[in-house]
Amino acid sequence: MKNDFRSRNHPAYWAFIVHRFSGVLLALFLPLHFWALGQALHGAAALDGFLRWTEHPLVKFAETGLVLLLAAHMAGGLRLLALEFLEWREWQKTLLAAAAGVSLVAGLAFLLNLV
């Protein structure tokens, strides 16, 4: 059976890609996140030393990306849970758009508060 790009160029396929991509990146980020918060074991000054690094604009940009990925993974995951566990209803088709919207709102709210 031919499985060319046309069968993949579909919103649900892109949602699948976003969910995988965000999941892998978030999993890779977790050890760094835990290490950073673990600095508190050495006292508040050690944690502040790390947090000063996060004032860098590039780091803020990366943080916003991570918040967007986290929100996208959560919203996309809720969509999957709804598809798997709830009875099919017409509004489930709009879950993709809702998931994308929720992710963007979270990312933007974080960015606006950050800058």
């Binding site: 977790l30 050890p31 835990f34 508040a44 000054a45 995951g77 950050l114």
Partner: protein, 116 residues
């Protein structure tokens, strides 16, 4: 891996996802609120140090992600590299245990275990 074990992994992935959905929602709202006036140790530790509620929340968060992330990675690794078998199961377990221990170290850090 036996069929029964695969069903168990599938269930664990969904249950941890439900727990994580709530945890991530709280985490997102906390982050958006916390960065308003810049992040500082005083801001973070002022909220978490000595707080049983935040300690319980982050402990639940860490264990849910220590279940969820390895199972997801296992599926992706298995499909991407056509890898199945004992080695993959061991890797999944190691990732989960590492995340749980490394994560709890951070939880104890912000709770105040190392506060001077």
């Amino acid at each position: 891996m036996s069929q029964r074990a695969q069903v168990l992994l599938w269930g664990a992935q969904r249950i941890s996802a439900m727990v994580l959905a709530l945890c991530v929602l709280v985490h997102l709202l906390t982050m958006i609120y916390a960065v308003r006036s810049g992040l500082s140790a005083a801001e973070i530790l002022g909220r978490t140090q000595g707080s049983i509620a935040w300690f319980a929340f982050y402990t639940l968060f860490v264990f849910a992600v220590a279940v969820h992330a390895p199972i997801g990675l296992r599926t992706i690794i298995s499909e991407s590299f056509n890898w199945r078998g004992r080695g993959l199961d061991v890797l999944t377990g190691v990732i989960g245990l590492s995340l749980a221990m490394w994560g709890m170290r951070a939880v104890f850090g912000v709770f105040g275990a190392g506060a001077a």
